[in-house]
Amino acid sequence: MTIFNSSAWIVAPIIIPLIGGLLCFLWRRDTFFIALFISLANLLSVTTLLRQFLLFGPLRYRMGGWEAPLGIALRLHGPALLMLLMTAVSGIGITLYARGYFSFRISALKHNNRHEQQERFFWPLWLMLWTALNALFLSGDIFNLYVTLELVSVSAAALAALSGKPASQIAAFRYLLVSLLGSLSYLLGVVFVYKTYGILDLEMLRQIATPGPGLQMALTLMTLGLLLKTALFPLHFWLPPAHANALAPVSAILSGLVVKGSFFILFTLWFEIFASSITANALDLIGLLGAGAVIWGSLQAIRQQRLKLLVTYSTVAQLGYLFIAFPLTATENISQEVWTAVTFMVMAHSFAKTAMFMAAGTIFLQVGHDRIRDLAGIRKSLPITSFAYAIAGVNLIGLPPSGGFIGKWLLLTAALTSGQWHWSLVIIAGSLLASVYVFRVVSRLFLTPDEAIIQECRPHSPLQEWPALFLAIIALLLGLIAPYFSLILETTEIVANLAPGGGL
């Protein structure tokens, strides 16, 4: 099987969706089948990468055959591989769901021209966004990361504006400006790095980076930009309108995948590349903001009257957990566990939130509104969707055996062993609050009084319901395959000892 050992597979997750996106724009017929084929091909390539990774360890790829300081390198390490897997699986779900969603809208709603047009532009934009995310996860060059960030923000903003409603236009405009501001701040950070070291390659930077005023400023700028893009607590103001007003598949993409991209860069920069320059105060500050996000986001979610807004604010809250992990890495011997915890949280949240937005979108389309108060008895007409929502909720609360449980458990133990028990209080409080906002909806959906109005249900395709359940169940079962994940992540340690240009 020499073909599966070729190093060229590492560019496949970038090239395959890219070709798909271009084809969807050019051809315009059978776009769903193109997208489905692309999703499967992408899954195949990511699986091949997984196999190569398990056989040979971390990979490094020189674009154009040029060595690192001059050329651009791609690198595949444990976290990047898991992010690729996450995007591949979520992507298949989103592709299937989007098909059901758009065909329902075209057939059942008025103004089907508009819906046809939305579907026509959704596919190329979605595939381009997928390309951008995969490129971001694989990139090993600090300026190339900026280009991929811009690619992500432009396509995400275009997707967010797709719904055409006034509120979504304003939200998308603000989203675009905020992403631009974040990218520019990041770029200025890159400029400072280049001023100081004259190098853009991540691996080489990791080796020569020493704490200093230039790096300090660069890190501050990059962190500010990426925090803005990841919507950490006080900088989250743009997220709820943008995510709640988009079309349902787009909300799923934005909440499930896009925010993870900037978080991934942030985490890589802080704990892999510039780990030596991070001070304990900075870690504590980020952790504090994360705690604020958990509490504030959960309280807001509890207050919301609309299902989609509730799900959106829960994204703000769940992103907070990822930042609570920052101060826990300060203790030497447990940083590996924190890495695993964060990866788990990211993946579990991605699957669960994607499923949740899909379920919310289906409910919205079927019922015509998403006021939580009036959602009683939906389970009778939409059993699969309600079930998917409930399972995804289990993940957000963090009940076993879900991926969310493993993530939180690892965080809790890390907090206790490192003696920073105050973070564990926040984690537990967040879980309790999450159970409040999840059960508030689930109890409406399931435990209704007998005389509840049974909402009428339009005929719809299974594609509208099953992908959500599929992703929710994956999120639930994530905890069962935990050992394999830590296996992949432990290989990261080897990459940390590799010389640049090493690997394959």
């Binding site: 154009g64 651009i72 046809e116 811009e150 504006a161 400072f192």
Partner: protein
Amino acid sequence: MIIKSRRKNKRRPFDPILLLVLLLTIGLTALLIKANYTIPVTSFGLAAEVARFQPRSGVESPVTAVLLNFRGYDTLLEVMILLIAVIGVWSLTKAPFPQKAVKTSPVQLAVVRLLAPLMCLVAAYLVWQGSHLAGGAFQGGAILGGAGVLLLVAELPWLRTIHSRPLRIGLLIGPLFFLGVALLGIINGRELLTYPGKWSGSLLLLIESTCAVSIGLTLASLFAGGRPADDLIGQTKTPACNREQKRC
């Protein structure tokens, strides 16, 4: 919600939040300037590296070598950003692009007739010059886009007959050719974006020419802010959209 409150208190001279933002920006800028002057200048960047490998890149201009060869991957993604911007603009508009048929004044027409071909020539020259001096696909494409803007401003009637498919092919020809050449490297058993040695000079020129055409079309489409009339799905059916077309 900083932005919101700003709007309401626009007239007031002493808005506390505005003051806070002002102080924060001044502080950040001061920090930046301070850091800027404390950075020890230890490196001279990648100039030596580029100079060393430039003979193998196939072009004489160092910037073009970096742009298309050493860091060609960035450029490939960047061309895609342009394309996504066009897709985004098309997805947002419901109007066909030359919006109304007006009589172009003869003076304007004469100017356009003179300038547009001239700009195409300049663009071609810039692309060709890019291999050894300043210039290249982006500069040439920008001039081509400028020519497109000129045509659009003059609202020439034949612009209305542009069909969607040929335009899309034009928009995609550069990116697709670039991608194809990039994949050639893999087919040859090398890395992505590796150009075959002795051909790389002419291949790069071809990439630049096709990309310049696509970039020019892209920029002109961005300026047009609409889509070809046959790209709209049944817009004339609903009366609301009819009204809209007249007004937009």
